[in-house]
């Protein structure tokens, strides 16, 4: 697949994104492996479509969920990016925005929701609780980061993250979608898990 040097999304200039070695690495990999022109072009078309209408699952456990509501309302208006169709059923959603703390009792539920999402599926860990347990890390009934439960694509730090930060996070997801191989890649069952196993995110 022919890959342009700069992966951008939503008419954001490339410079507006902070360095993202992870995506640069994916670009390099695509370039190195090379793809059939026809499949590559189809990939590009499909990815363009996919990355511009990512539908979230309405999933919120605590404070971050309220910022997600603000994100959907008129001021921050995620509708202008094509993300506004928050679905109540995981079967119809593209990604879970894990907004809030995940505790022991919720962990199996989150896992099941993730399993119910249709491929290709993505996860954004939103807020410090979802990333590491946050202020509740030392508690007896809190999962110390959702990475132990489901694979994560994007981490959005903050307690809670501002709606702008969430926009940035979903844009990074959108960029990632643009550099994925669709045919023979993410359209396959279980490929997402395999993909993340091969490309672990370096959290520092």
């Amino acid at each position: 697949m022919e890959v342009k040097d700069q992966i951008t999304t939503k008419s954001m200039p490339y410079e507006a994104f902070k360095d993202n070695e992870y995506i640069e690495k994916l670009v390099q990999e695509l370039r190195d492996s090379g793809t059939n022109v026809l499949v590559g072009s189809l990939d590009k078309l499909i990815n363009w479509g996919r990355s511009n209408s990512i539908w979230p699952l309405t999933f919120a456990t605590s404070c971050c969920g309220i910022e997600f509501v603000s994100l959907g309302a008129a001021r921050f208006d995620m509708a202008r990016f094509g993300w506004e169709v928050a679905r109540a059923s995981p079967r119809q959603a593209d990604f879970i925005m894990v907004a809030g703390t995940i505790v022991n009792r919720m962990a199996p539920v989150l896992r099941r929701l993730y399993d119910q999402l249709a491929e290709p599926k993505y996860v954004i860990a939103c807020g410090s609780c979802a990333i590491s347990g946050g202020p509740f890390r030392k508690s007896y009934h809190v999962a110390r980061g959702i990475e132990d439960i489901i694979p994560v694509d994007v981490f959005v730090p903050g307690c809670p993250p501002r709606p702008e930060a969430m926009i940035y996070g979903i844009m990074q997801l959108s960029r990632k979608m643009k550099v994925e191989k669709f045919f023979g890649g993410v359209n396959r069952q279980e490929s997402q898990k395999e993909f993340l196993r091969q490309h672990p995110i370096d959290k520092e």
């Binding site: 404070c63 969920g65 910022e67 603000s70 539920v109 007896y140």
Partner: protein
């Protein structure tokens, strides 16, 4: 107060009294039921409102402290009881006297393993059936491997237990939560209408609800235990994350309680700032309530109208506190930082636009025929039941119970302010909705009175860097956006609380769903749940 002492001493000579801000009786465990019934039914006492039950681990003895309030006489009383032995501690239940006591007792059982005799539903409340140990006991092992996070589904059971005393022995009997012929529909935990991660197991007969088993704990984060490991100023930030709409109010509550214990005088400027922030958060919270409630009923557009005001308030707060939601603004002795120079101007701008906004809400939604049909007469809660279920806040006031702490036990500068307590008598969803809209107006009225009168001076008192509270116990009530928020602190003289109990308003609000929805249609469950406006992290803590 002496009066209560005399009346009690006449009947219960064995009750020893501990004088304090709230009089506390010490009752032998076997007398608990009799004593509670006496406090409730004796005409001159009439303690009809159970504020909270605080479970305690005093080392050798486990026990409970019951806080009661008389809605008629506006008096408070507390009594404690304790039992020896950590294997099978048992205290008689008072769940037949107060409807809410059943849930409170389940919470104590969950955290401390104290069995309540004759409580018909003695299950764990927040933790799973297979949880090992009782987390709030002092000897609990936090790193027990048995309790690790698992992605295996939790074992579900339909059984509940009742413990009774027979010939000096505790007998355990098993009941089923639902009857075999019940058709049970599961709603939640991931359901857009449950306002978070609450789960209802709903037994239905056709479309009519027979019984709801409220299943909590999907966001139980163990705040009370965490607080025991932190110094007093460090415990404050958890208050932001319980009911995140009442962040300022809850902070205010905990600060008041610590200040009361440490004898710290708060500068007048800080008190004014706190009250203004409390009322601003009340407006923001009720605005979001209107938005999400209307969204639940199918009127999505309302959310955009109400969030407009909320965003304006969040901007004001952001300028002063530096955050949009978790402010961490109130601190012990005052507030963290002085007001932003634009604060007064911004608030006045907000107040100027507010009446037009409320008018618009009423025009768009309140008077709507569909709205009225869906809300009037739906989910009726009587005053008596509201008190028995400890349903406070706007939901309680919509049932005709004047339970506003700002009026009944005024704190800070509230006694000097002129505002009305909104009380309605209908007790249905429509009243709960209207009550909140009217409260926005009252809050605006409070801010109007004091916004020009914020006195100059310090915004924070001088507080020692290492704060130690003397030995003792303190209880403080404040009015959150959703009801009465109580904080109980017991100190052993060190820098950390020995026990910090949070009595949230939303736990009774969720518990009462079963009672209100009985006999209603399942579609009305959404209306009723929405109009009660519980916040799930506040239920679970």
């Amino acid at each position: 107060m002496a009066n209560i002492k005399d009346i009690v001493a006449e009947r219960f000579s064995q009750a020893s009294v501990e004088e304090g801000e709230i009089m506390m009786f010490d009752i032998p465990s076997e007398k608990v039921h009799e004593f509670a019934q006496f406090l409730r039914d004796e005409k001159e006492l009439a303690f009809d409102y159970l504020v909270t039950i605080v479970g305690m681990d005093w080392g050798e003895r486990l026990g409970c402290i019951y806080y009661l309030t008389s809605t008629e006489h506006k008096t408070h009383v507390a009594f404690k009881t304790s039992v020896e032995g950590r294997e099978h501690p048992a205290i008689p239940s008072i769940s037949d006297l107060w409807a809410i006591a059943g849930i409170f007792e389940r919470e104590v059982y969950d955290f401390f393993g104290i069995i309540f005799l004759n409580n018909p539903d003695m299950r764990r409340l927040f933790l799973s059936v297979d949880w090992v140990g009782y987390p709030l006991r002092k000897d609990y092992d936090m790193n027990d491997k048995a309790n690790e996070v698992s992605i295996e589904n939790e074992r579900q059971t339909d059984d509940t237990y009742e413990y009774t005393m027979k010939d000096g022995k505790i007998v355990k009997t098993e009941h089923a939560v639902f009857k075999p012929e019940d058709f049970v529909v599961n709603i939640g935990p991931q359901h857009p209408a449950t306002h978070g991660v609450l789960r209802f197991r709903t037994a239905v007969d056709g479309e009519t609800i027979k019984k709801i088993d409220v299943y909590m704990g999907y966001i139980h984060r163990g705040v009370e235990k965490l607080c025991e490991t932190l110094a007093y100023p460090q415990t404050l930030h958890f208050m932001d994350r319980l009911d995140y709409f009442s962040a300022h109010n809850y902070h205010h509550g905990l600060c008041l309680c610590i200040e009361k214990a440490a004898n710290i005088e708060v500068p007048l400027r800080a008190q004014y700032i706190r009250v203004i922030m409390d009322e601003l958060s009340r407006i923001a919270s009720h605005c979001l309530f209107i938005g999400t409630f209307c969204m639940d009923l199918g009127a999505t557009t309302m959310l955009f109208y109400t969030l407009r005001v909320r965003e304006q308030i969040l901007d004001i707060m952001e300028k002063t506190c530096g955050a949009r939601m978790t402010f961490n603004y109130d601190c012990i002795g005052g507030v963290m930082a002085d007001l932003d120079p634009d604060f007064v101007k911004d608030v006045k701008d907000l107040l100027a636009t507010l009446p037009a906004n409320i008018k618009e809400y009423n025009k768009l939604f309140t008077g709507n025929v569909i709205t009225k049909n869906r809300m009037i007469g739906v989910g009726h809660l009587s005053r008596k039941d509201a008190i028995s279920w400890s349903v406070t806040g706007p939901s309680g006031r919509a049932s005709g119970w004047a339970c506003d702490v700002r009026k009944t036990d005024p704190y800070s500068i509230y006694p000097e302010l002129d505002f009305e307590q909104v009380v309605m008598t209908e007790g249905d969803s429509y009243a709960r909705f209207k009550c909140r809209v009217a409260e926005i107006e009252q809050s605006a009225h409070i801010i109007e009175q004091i916004i020009d009168k914020i006195p100059e001076g310090d915004y924070c008192a001088k507080v020692p860097k290492v704060l130690k509270l003397p030995e003792g116990r303190w209880f403080q009530l404040v009015e959150g956006c959703r009801g009465v928020f109580g904080i109980y602190i017991e100190s052993d003289g060190s820098t950390k609380p020995y026990r910090l109990k949070i009595a949230p308003p939303c736990l009774p609000l969720a518990a009462v769903v079963d009672h209100i929805t009985e006999g209603q249609k399942i579609a009305d469950l959404i209306t009723i749940g929405g109009s009660l406006d519980y916040i799930v992290p506040d239920i679970d803590r």
